[in-house]
C-alpha cells in the first residue's frame, strides 16, 4: 500500500503535465520523450528499492 502511494506521488507530476496540452505538445513534442524517459527511470528506481527491501528481509531472517 505504502509503495503504491509512493508510486502515485512520483508519477503525479507527469500525470498533471499530461493533462496540459500546451506542455505536452510544446517543444516539438520533445516533452513526451522526456516524460517516457522519466517514467522508465522512476520504474527502475522503484525496482532498485524493492530489491533493497528483499535483501533486507533476507538479512533479518539470518
Amino acid at each position: 500500500m505504502k509503495k503504491l502511494i509512493a508510486l502515485i506521488i512520483a508519477f503525479s507530476p507527469i500525470a498533471v503535465a499530461a493533462q496540459n496540452d500546451s506542455v505536452m505538445y510544446g517543444n516539438e513534442k520533445m516533452n513526451v520523450v522526456i516524460g517516457v524517459i522519466t517514467i522508465i527511470f522512476i520504474g527502475l528506481g522503484a525496482y532498485l528499492f524493492s530489491l533493497d527491501r528483499k535483501i533486507k528481509k533476507l538479512e533479518d531472517e539470518k
Partner: protein, 215 residues
Amino acid sequence: MKGLPYKIAGLLLILFSLTYGLWSEVPELPIVEQSIRNLFYHVSMWFAMVAMMAASFGNAIGFLSSENMVRDRRSISLAETGMFFSFMGLLTGMLWAKFTWGAWWTNDPKLNGTAITMLIYLAYFVLRNSIDDPRKRARISSVYNIFAFVMMIVFIGILPRMTDSLHPGNGGNPGFNSYDLDNRLRLVFYPAVLGWILVGTWIASLRYRIRNLEE
C-alpha cells in the same frame, strides 16, 4: 532503510540530468552538434567507473592491512559495478564515435587503453574464480587489484594525454572547458556524475549484501 537520503539523492540527480539535460540549451559546436548532450550520459559512465574502481582499490588496500574479509567483499562488489559502468561507457562511446568520428572503433589511444583496462579487470574476475580458499583468494586478488587500478590510471589517465587523441583534453586537444565555457553543460554534467556515483554505490552495496548472505 539505511542510507535512504543518498539513494534518493542519487536517483533525483540522475533524473535531473535525464530531463533537464534534454531541455537545456547547449553550445553550438561543429560536427558534434546536439550530440554534445552525450557528455551528460556517456562521460558520466566513465566517471562512475573510475570512482567505483578507486573505492575497490581502497578496499583492497584495506583488506591487506586488516585481513578483514568484509573489505574483500566490498572490493569485489565495487569492481563488478565498475565493470558494468565501463561496458555501458564503451557501448555508448562506440555509438557516439560512429556519428562524430565516423567509425565504431578508432585507434585512439584512449579507446585502446580502455580496452586493455577492461581486459585487466576481466582477468581480475577470472583470477578470483580460480582460487578456492577464500583467504588466499582475497589476498591474491587484492594485490592484483592494486596493480589493475594503477594500470587503469596509466592507460586511461596518462598515456592518452601524451599522444594524439581524438578525445577532448588529450594530446594537445583542448578540453571541453575551453570550447565555450560551458556553465550550461557543467550544470547538468556534474550532477549526473554525482548521481551515477551515488547509485553505483547503492548497486555495489546490494551486491555486497548478497555476498554477505551467501557466506
